[in-house]
């Protein structure tokens, strides 16, 4: 689940996928490549979700609403830290975990 810089100025982020989203990815861990446009413009959590949606169409809208807010029972962890701001920048060793939290019966 580490990110690394590629020769094409991109980082590859490995993302852990919860069971409610496996119908999109088919696997519990996937890797997505995020372009690095400039050193002062590092990829963000939002850009990871966009890349994820490019690879697995429809997945982003199930976890982020049309106002760019995380849905109520979805949590994101980057490097083990709970992230609420989708503009949070990723570092070269970032990793992401999507968690479907408690949602009732």
């Amino acid at each position: 689940m580490t990110a690394r810089a590629s020769r094409e100025a991109a980082i590859v982020v490995r993302v852990q996928i919860p069971s409610p989203l496996l119908s999109y990815t088919g696997q519990a861990e996937v890797a997505v490549a995020i372009p690095v446009l400039a050193p002062e413009l590092p990829p963000t959590v939002s850009s990871v979700l966009a890349a994820l949606d490019g690879a697995y169409p429809g997945i982003r809208f199930r976890i982020v609403d049309e106002q760019r807010q995380l849905r109520p029972h979805i949590k994101l962890f980057v490097g083990g830290q709970l992230i609420r701001d989708l503009s949070t920048p990723l570092t070269s060793d970032s990793e992401m975990m999507i968690v479907a939290a408690l949602s009732g019966g």
């Binding site: 609403d65 049309e66 807010q69 979805i74």
Partner: protein, 381 residues
């Protein structure tokens, strides 16, 4: 009004199928046209919260399902082969970015006019109207409603409305004119458009709104379910939070036809179902609207009530139902009729039972039990 029975005969069919949308997935019940024996199949979408599942009568094989899960946001699944395979909408109903509004779930699906194959409409919670021109693959907001300057006044805040969220439902397309539409909103009331949704006006005259002080307002009502009368789109029936109503166009004043219901039973309920060929025949399923509104069969003795004269008189129909201790709740999308003759009448309960009649309500039997909480039933012939 004289009794009207349209000349159209039921379409030939080899089977009758019910689409059962539940809080935990989709099931189907299928029978031959005699409707003697029913076969239950499913689940599909196990664990998904489905508010509506609808077949397109224009081709008989396109199905749309409104879905979300406890964790995930709302979407629409579509099948072009009668439910054998499904694909997710690539752009589900969603409000515009920056609008501040978020679709919690798609609540209602309506196929469009026969002259517009592939067109569907969706009503959401909170109240929003969406249109697809490609059989549910992509959806666009109907700006004439969603961005109407009066929308917020009509609907109240997104936190108002029914316990599981305010919603748009009962999207009706006039079979004679694709630009003529009605919608129902809880809350908000019934609204009409004559220009394909570009503009809307309230249509609630004569309808009580007991939860407001003073005389009934122009809007803000709580229609639970609105249907065209069978074979006569100039007549609408409405089961409202505050009674049962009939509207005969071009009048814009609803007539209170719930007043003729037995006082001990009352005129509260969620669904209303109509005979597909007889504009004077309809069914309601009363629920207890006293004290704290249990919304269960009055006295634990369920019955449907049928009118054959446009609501002037009502007849109790309960043959086959439990005679006591049956505390059913039936939601607004969960009663449906088929196109056979005699017509079949079906409904599903929140306790997971499906009941059906193949003789227009004279007798009922339980077709399935132990299903999850049923949100919607649609007969697919």
């Amino acid at each position: 009004m004289p009794r009207t029975r349209a000349a159209a005969r039921p379409a030939p069919a080899r089977r009758v199928r019910l689409l059962i949308a539940t809080r935990k997935g989709l099931w189907t019940l299928t029978s031959d046209v005699a409707r003697n024996g029913w076969k239950l199949a499913g689940p599909q979408f196990l664990g998904h919260i489905l508010h509506h599942a609808v077949c397109d009568p224009r081709d008989g094989k396109t199905l749309l399902v409104a879905a979300r899960t406890g964790h995930l946001g709302p979407t629409v699944f579509r099948s072009l082969d009668s439910g054998k395979t499904w694909k997710e909408a690539t752009r589900p109903p969603a409000f515009g970015e920056g609008s501040g509004r978020v679709v919690d779930h798609t609540f209602w699906l309506t196929p469009g006019h026969p002259s517009e194959p592939g067109v569907w409409y969706a009503g959401t919670s909170p109240q929003g109207l969406f249109r697809s021109a490609d059989a549910g693959a992509t959806w666009e907001g109907v700006a004439g409603f969603n961005a109407h300057p009066q929308r917020k006044a009509w609907c109240g805040g997104d936190q108002d409305g029914t316990p599981d969220g305010p919603k748009m439902h009962s999207i009706l397309i006039d079979p004679r004119d694709r630009a003529h539409m009605y919608i129902g909103m809880s809350g908000g009331g019934v609204f009409e458009s004559v220009d394909a949704g570009a503009d809307w006006r309230p249509l609630n005259k004569g309808v009580r709104a007991d939860f407001f002080p003073g005389p009934p307002p122009e809007y803000g009502h709580d229609p639970h379910c609105v249907r065209f009368a069978g074979g006569n789109p100039d007549r609408l029936y409405q089961q409202n939070h505050c009674g049962i109503y009939r509207l005969d166009r071009p009048s814009d004043a609803w007539q209170d036809i719930g007043a003729a219901m037995p006082k001990a039973v009352g005129d509260v309920g969620f669904p209303v179902a109509v005979h597909p060929r007889d504009a004077d025949t309809l069914w309601v399923l009363p629920m207890d609207g006293t004290s704290v509104w249990p919304r269960t069969a009055p006295g634990g003795r369920p019955a449907v009530y049928r009118s054959r004269d446009g609501g002037k008189t009502w007849k109790r129909q309960d043959q086959g139902f439990p005679k006591s201790q049956a505390w059913w709740t039936v939601k607004r999308q969960a009663m449906s009729t088929d196109m056979r003759d005699p017509m079949g009448l079906y409904f599903g309960t929140t306790s997971g039972e499906v009941w059906g009649s193949r003789d227009e309500g004279r007798s009922f039997r339980c077709l399935a039990r132990h299903l999850p909480h049923i949100h919607a039933i649609e007969a697919w012939c």
